[in-house]
Symmetry: C2
Subunit: 151 residues, 2 copies
DNA sequence: TATTGTTATACTCTATAACTATA
DNA sequence: TATAGTTATAGAGTATAACAATA
């Protein structure tokens, strides 16, 4: 098959390819820890804000309460997180279970090894430059066509 | 919610965020043309290799025959592509329908406008540098943990 | 035997809407 | 009324396995 030259110069297309490459590797590296990149992100958010509720978690992940619920269910089922009584009777306070910090350290180690493997053809200067350029992406003002769904 | 500082320095995390931002905008920009970025890619591959069969299309998209079939079904249903008799009785030859070239031009226009909007905070030098850095991502040799599934 | 297209099926992710219990 | 959690449901997207027709 011939290449599709119309897309080669587009940032979105290259971003798509690089993203797939890197996320597939991260997913594979996290597999032995029985977690995916997205679920690890949720776990790290809870670790960073102990006692948060599910709605706040959903907001931070730019998704809705229903999806946040599924993530928390997964983390609870794996013995990583527990739901404690929250600030009122409607609300859960999410907390890590004891011993999970060690497991998180192992997950982060696997993740950063994958990250290093994916950027080994870049010098550390190039890697830093790439990170800062990626952070500059997005519309200048508030021109985004549509925000992510959030109920 | 506090930020998750463990992830900030990881290429994969920043790539995930940038990818979501850019792809969401592209998806929204293509919505009036009733197509998604992935389906447009399939359409452009067929345009670049007229007469190709579905298996080749699947290989080019790093997916399987079943998924390629669904993409072609979509493109046929929208009047963009037709299945003609192929090189033998098992095989289809995929071709664009007449007039579709004009519609593709409009789709590409919407896509490149979205792309420009997403990179408007970058100078053209920075944009070019970002593209070339993205292309350098990936393992040095053939260290990838697992290739994408392909039956 | 191998390949192409096809169908059936299933699993994940994500989204919406409605329900309940609280506030 | 509004909010938090929950449940049911539905739609993409993607994967596997099996089948018929053909090579």
């Amino acid at each position: 098959m011939k290449q599709v030259t119309d897309l080669d110069g587009l940032l979105g297309y290259q971003l798509q390819r690089s993203h797939m490459l890197v996320v597939d590797d991260a997913r594979e590296a996290l597999k032995i820890h029985d977690i995916t990149p997205a679920k690890l992100t949720a776990l790290l958010l809870i670790r960073a804000s102990p006692g948060c509720d599910q709605t706040a978690l959903g907001r931070a992940l730019e998704t809705n309460r229903s999806s946040a619920m599924k993530l928390v269910n997964f983390l609870v089922d794996r013995g990583l997180v527990e739901r404690r009584p929250g600030r009122d009777l409607r609300t859960n306070a999410l907390h890590l279970l004891p011993g999970v910090e060690d497991r998180i350290q192992e997950m982060l180690k696997a993740l950063s090894e994958s990250d290093a493997r994916m950027s080994e053809r870049l010098t550390s200067e190039e890697r830093a430059r790439l990170l800062s350029l990626l952070r500059k992406l997005g519309p200048a003002k508030n021109k985004r066509l549509k925000r992510r769904a959030n109920e």
